[in-house]
Structures are given as C-alpha cells and as structure tokens.
C-alpha cells in the first residue's frame, strides 16, 4: 500500500512539474511573423490596402526621427476597451497592435510593430522594406545599421530591440504616441512637426464616441487635456520636451534616480510642472564644457549655458540627446527651445516662483 501511495504521489508530482514547465516554456507565446504583410496591417498583401479595422492616429507632439514621414495605426481587439481609470497610465487590452511606418525621401524604410500578446507582455519588432516596396521583412533583434540616407551622408538605422525597450519600457511598457495628451482634441497649433488631423484619425473624442474607454470619461471631450502654460511658446516647448525627453526622463523610469522629469502629466496641470522643477537652475550631471560654473540644465535667459540646449544641438555620441534614434539635429526644436530659454524673463520669474513655492 505504501508503494502504491508513493507511486501515485510521485506520478502526480511529475505531472504537475511537467505541466508547470510547459506553461513556463511559453505555452507557445506568439512571436512576430516574418513578413509585415503577415501582421494584420493590410487587408490585401498585394495592394497593401490597410485593413479597415486598423485606425490611423497622429500624436500632437510627435517624436523627432530625423525628419521621417510617419504613418501610424492601432487595432484594438473586437469588443475590448482601454482602461483609463488612471489617465496618465492607460491600460490597453491584450491583443492590441500598433504599427508605425517610417519613410525617408518618399520611400518606405521600416515599419515598427508593437503587439501586446499577454498582459504587460509586448512583442517588439521592426520590419525592413524591400527595394521593390512590396513587403518588409522582420529585422534582426540587433537592428540594422545605416539602412537609408537621411541627410548628407548621415544614415538611419533600424533600432535593436533593446534600444526599442530603452524608450518604451519604463517600469511598464508604454505606447508613447497614444496617450490622453497626445490624442487630445485640443491640439497645440505650435507643436513641432505635427501632422494635420484628418477625419479618419483616432482622437480622444472618437474613442469616447465609440465607447472604447472605461470608465467613459466624457469630461475629456468637454475639457480635453492640454499643457497649461503662460505662453504659446512655453506650451509648445513643454510638449516637445515631454515627447522627446520625457519618455526616458520621468519619475517612473528606470533612470528616475537622475532626478530629471520632463514628462508632462496631464493630471497635474496648474502646479509647478516637474519639467521645470527638475531642470530650471539645477546643476545636473552633465556640465556645458564652455560654461562650467554657469552651467545648468536650464539656465533661464542663457541658452548657451543650458545643458539641455547644448545636448539637443549635439549629434556626437558622447553628448547628444536623445542618445538613441536620431543622427540629425532637430534644428527647429533647437530654435524653439533656445528662444523659449532666452525670452520672456517675466514668465520665467513667475515659473521659478511657482516652483519655489
């Protein structure tokens, strides 16, 4: 009897261990397909007609990608909703897919694909377009260097998966262009590089009208999220910094210990925004070589001793910001941020006073 009981117990134990191991082995977690035309973006692989279930959208503060022309699409699983209980941290349903297509000089170069296959588990993939522009092939996880010229010998590279995750993975994966602020119907007319909004694009209002948000939050139509600022240039500057710097420099980032937070939190309007509190007059880790003692992250009135401006201008790997995803300085942005830092001393005084309070 003892032998029988032991045999049964050991058999059960082995079965449980095998089941557990199979489950951990991934239970065949989905992976990115080999071709872009197999990801569900297109209704017809031959004509590259976009599947009508994929909705286009355009963030009001786009990320600078060396002047690439971009197109973006999202597909939410049938019958699913986006949980926006925390307006600053949307929870997208499992099965959500995003695509972003990059073109330079009129030719498609790469399409990035993000797919939430399990809760908080996203597949990251990039597809490199073929010469005939008929399809794109899954790129290596280590990326593809120098795939297309963007300006005078400077070339675009498809990022590695670890580089993708460097921007998208803070403590949780985030879709940087699909947030309350980015989809707000109160668009900033001075936002740099923004594409015109067309009637077929997803916005907060279209999401609410289609009953795709839970809770419904109709107040976001009446009072759409916006960056409250004392002047149009400050609004545009904070928006640009939020997208182009705040994806890494935010309070939830794995580099939060640097103490820099440039991400705009739509739930905290009216306070001293962290983008100012953590930069204005702060010494920072990186010192402007030409300024030394005067160097500050933002030095009001003095862009030449503001590390933020200096690093935006640089495209030397040793000092450039952002450090990933760009090889060409965003000159319009340098002009915007320089004039913002340089001008309007009264507004700067008020902002500094608010932060000091």
């Amino acid at each position: 009897m003892k032998y029988l009981a032991t045999t049964i117990a050991v058999g059960m134990f082995a079965a449980i261990v095998r089941a557990s191991a199979a489950s951990e082995a991934g239970g065949a977690a989905p992976v990115a397909p080999r071709l872009l035309t197999q990801t569900g973006l297109y209704a017809n692989a031959a004509t590259l007609k976009i599947d009508s279930r994929n909705r286009t959208f355009s963030p009001q503060y786009p990320l600078w990608s060396d002047g690439a022309t971009k197109r973006r699409w999202v597909r939410l699983p049938e019958g699913s909703m986006i949980n926006v209980a925390d307006l600053a941290n949307w929870e997208l349903p499992v099965g959500t897919k995003f695509w972003k297509e990059f073109s330079f000089n009129g030719r498609k170069v790469e399409t990035r694909f993000l797919w939430q296959v399990k809760k908080n588990h996203w597949v990251f993939a990039s597809y490199a377009w073929n010469d005939a522009q008929t399809d794109a092939v899954l790129a290596s996880e280590s990326g593809v260097s120098n795939i297309a010229e963007v300006e005078n010998g400077k070339r675009h590279s498809i990022p590695s998966v670890s580089e993708c995750r460097a921007c998208h993975d803070s403590k949780r994966t985030e879709i940087l262009g699909f947030t309350a602020l980015q989809l707000s119907d109160d668009r900033d007319p001075n936002a740099l590089h923004a594409e015109p909004l067309t009637s077929d694009m997803v916005t907060l209002k279209t999401l609410i009208d289609a009953n795709l948000l839970t809770p419904a939050r109709p107040e976001l139509v009446k009072n759409p999220p916006r960056i409250e600022a004392g002047s149009p240039v400050t609004r545009a500057a904070l928006g640009y910094l939020s997208t182009n710097c705040g994806n890494c420099h935010n309070s939830n980032s794995t580099i939060a210990s640097l103490g820099l937070d440039l991400k705009h939190d739509v739930t905290r309007n009216g306070e001293c925004t962290p983008a100012l509190a953590t930069t204005v007059g702060k010494r920072g880790h990186w010192i402007v070589p030409e300024a030394q003692d005067a160097s500050r992250i933002i030095n009001p009135g003095q862009p030449e001793s503001s590390a933020l401006v200096r690093r935006m201008k640089s495209r030397r790997p040793i000092s450039q910001m952002p450090p990933i995803g760009t090889v060409v300085t965003d000159r319009q942005a340098v002009d915007l941020i320089t004039s913002w830092v340089q001008s309007n001393p009264e507004e700067w005084q008020q902002m500094v006073a608010r932060c000091a309070a």
């Binding site: 117990a9 890494c248 580099i255």
Partner: protein, 201 residues
C-alpha cells in the same frame, strides 16, 4: 485499507503538492541565484567572492585603478583601488595623433583620447556622490547588457570592452555589483567625457 496507509498516502501527496508549489513560486534560476540575489549571509559572502574573482580576472583594475610608477615600472595604486581617473590628475589633452596611432593614454592609465573624444574611467566604489553609490543593480545590469549608461544614455566609451561585458550572465553582473558595493567608498569625482575637438575646461 488500514488507516495508517491512508495517512501515509495523504502525507506523501501533501508533501508532493507543497514541493511543487515551492518550486513553481520561488524565483530560482539555473545558477541558483534568484532575482532578489542570495538571501543568506553565506550566499551573500559567496556572491561577493565571485564578484571579486570576476573583477580580478576581467581586468577591471587595469583601467579603473590609477597607476603609479614603482621600482619596476607602472603598478596599481591600491590605496585608490577602482576609484577611476583621479580628479587631481592632469587633464589629457585631445589627441592629435600622427598617422598610425589610434589613441593616447594619460599618465595614470585612466584617461584615453582618440577619435571618439576623451574618456575618463569611472569611480566604481560605492561613494554616493561620485561613484556607484546611487546606482541600482538594475541600472548596472542595463549598462553592462546594452553598452549604454544605465541602459538608456550615451554609449559606454572606449576602451571599455563592451562586447565582452554583454556576454556576462545576469548573476555574474549581480556578483560584480555586490563586490563593488562592498568596497570602501572613495570620494573621487571623475571628469565627464570630452567631445572630440574640444579642450577640457
């Protein structure tokens, strides 16, 4: 069936279920170290010893411990072990090298100048202000595995052997960090790297 046999069978089955639950919930990797690191004093001691071994064989001292001249030539100044480029050392000017030369090396063997600019080895001791004292193990792992500062920042510069470091296992990187954090903190603010073509102020 006797009662003792039933009790015996139930006990074996219960033990099997408990063992399964323990195995499935404990975050233990093949190398025996969980994500949270070793939990016992002996385990932590072993981890630090492993880290010291790795630091010694990987040549970390070669660049992160300043050299001084001894009777037989350059030798490590172990009073400043792993504290990086001395803040009071002369600055290495940007290299203006003749053809055939790739880089110049500063006097303490802790600064390097070449086409990328000038790099200064980092203070790896756990000083809060100037070393790794304010780093998390996750930031250290991200740096080693991506070749970028804290996984997101600028590239780690030459002559750091980034390609070798990317091959380190997660547990070995944790061991390195545990050992470095166990060292005496040395306050030594190493300079930030200098862009090519710029003189250091």
């Amino acid at each position: 069936m006797r009662l003792t046999n039933i009790v015996w069978g139930a006990a074996v089955i219960t033990a099997a279920i408990i063992l399964t639950a323990v195995l499935s919930t404990a975050s233990v990797k093949a190398d025996g170290v969980g994500d949270a690191g070793p939990q016992t004093k002996a385990g932590k001691t072993a981890q630090i010893a492993r880290g010291k071994y790795l630091v010694d064989i990987m040549g970390c001292h070669d660049c992160h411990t300043p050299m001084k001249l001894g009777p037989n030539g350059p030798e490590w100044d172990m009073t400043r072990a792993l504290s990086g480029h001395p803040e009071d050392a002369p600055s290495l000017p940007p290299a203006n090298l003749p053809a055939g030369y790739m880089a110049a090396i500063g006097g303490t063997f802790t600064s390097f100048s070449g086409p990328w600019g000038t790099s200064f080895t980092k203070n790896l001791t756990p000083d809060k202000e100037t070393g790794l004292g304010d780093w998390t193990v996750e930031e250290f792992i991200a740096t080693m595995q991506t070749g970028r500062e804290r996984g997101k920042g600028r590239p780690v510069l030459p002559p750091m052997p980034v390609q070798n470091l990317k091959a380190l296992s997660d547990s070995d990187i944790r061991a390195l960090f545990a050992y470095l954090q166990s060292l005496p903190a040395i306050k030594n603010r190493t300079p930030q790297p200098v862009e090519p073509g710029n003189s250091q102020q």
